[in-house]
């Protein structure tokens, strides 16, 4: 990949002899083109502390005038960076619609499964039926469906369902699984008209409370560097 560039790694970075007693300094290795500040710390180190919050800013970083000056050198860049981050890239609005129009044209049907009509030839795509089954599972508190596969069961119009779930651990799992199974069979009968014979459920993951990503424009600068 073109990312590899030969200058990326500093060749044998010289350990700086100054200030070996400074614990924050002791582990720091100069990066290529780095600079030792008059206080003995590295420029890269002062910047990482300020920009990436790593490691947690220590007393030296907050009080040292040299470190402060080094960090202030980035102020102008930071102002421009914040402004850039707040801008929506051009073409954003149309992008998702165009992508989904292509994706929907490339629908992946999966198997074709029988609907519960013993006389007529009526079928539903696995992906469409699975969507309904997942919605049914999602209505049970503390659960979200992950995978859902369907297969014909035997000769008639029966269908078997295999689902994996993420479930919260604040209630007994067997109870949750029973509720999900009931909800799936109900949805299959009511919303689809499909004769589900068996529902195999595996709890594959723990459902953690989920916070959607931060809104547009609220980027980094503090914390979370490493």
């Amino acid at each position: 990949m073109a990312l590899d560039d030969p200058n990326a790694q500093p060749s044998e970075p010289p350990r700086n002899p100054g200030r070996p007693d400074d614990p924050a300094f002791r582990d720091a290795v100069p990066l290529a083109g780095d600079q030792v500040l008059p206080c003995g710390r590295l420029l890269s180190q002062a910047w990482e502390q300020a920009q990436d919050g790593m490691p947690a800013a220590d007393a030296h970083a907050t009080s040292c005038p040299h470190c402060r000056e080094a960090v202030e050198g980035l102020a102008r860049l930071n102002v421009a960076t914040r402004a850039l981050r707040a801008k929506d890239p051009p073409g954003l609005r149309a992008l998702a619609d165009r992508v989904m129009s292509i994706v929907r044209a490339e629908v992946r049907l999966g198997r074709l499964l029988p609907l519960a009509d013993t006389v007529l030839d009526l079928r539903i795509a696995e992906s469409a039926a699975a969507k309904v089954m997942r919605q049914a599972a999602d209505t049970v508190p503390g659960t979200r469906a992950a995978t859902c596969r369907l297969a014909p069961a035997g000769e008639g119009t029966g269908v078997q369902v295999t689902m994996t779930l993420a479930a919260a651990l604040d209630r007994p799992l067997p109870e949750t699984v029973t509720q999900v199974r009931r909800s799936i069979i109900h949805a299959a009968g009511q919303a689809l008209g499909m004769a589900v014979t068996t529902v195999d459920i595996t709890v594959a993951d723990v459902l953690e409370p989920f916070a959607p990503p931060a809104p547009a424009g609220s980027g980094p600068t503090t914390g979370g560097g490493a």
Partner: protein, 127 residues
């Protein structure tokens, strides 16, 4: 093998299927839809550029006694799928039979209905 005349045009089946409540559109076969989606036109026009007949397939029955028609349809949520499919089956079969009768070629017709997608109406108003 008895001659069964020309095939019923797919538009007859397509129109009958689209008139059924709950049917949002017909699902074109892959090659058709890919060609349309890859064209540089805006997505709004894509759905209109693929004729609904692309979701209908007509084959002669193996024994030559008539026609087998497969309709692939997209349903909106809120309709029981098996009932909508049954409805599509009955309407398509009736429309094709009456077309054939009017054109002097009354032969057997079987219909398979495949529901490919169920859509949530509020999110996807393209159909």
């Amino acid at each position: 093998m008895a001659a069964i005349g020309t095939a019923p045009p797919p538009s007859v089946a397509a129109e009958a299927a689209l008139a059924v409540p709950g049917v949002a559109g017909l699902q074109p076969r892959l090659a058709r839809s890919l060609a349309a989606a890859a064209s540089p036109t805006r997505p709004e026009t894509t759905a209109q550029r693929i004729p609904p007949e692309a979701g209908v397939r007509t084959d002669q029955m193996p024994d030559g006694s008539g026609w087998h028609i497969e309709v692939r349809c997209i349903l909106v949520e809120g309709h029981r799928v098996v009932e909508a499919a049954r409805n599509v089956h009955d309407q398509v079969r009736a429309a094709v039979l009456s077309y054939l009768a009017a054109h002097g070629a009354p032969v057997a017709v079987t219909v398979t209905v495949t529901v490919t997608v169920t859509r949530i109406v509020v999110r996807d108003h393209a159909g």
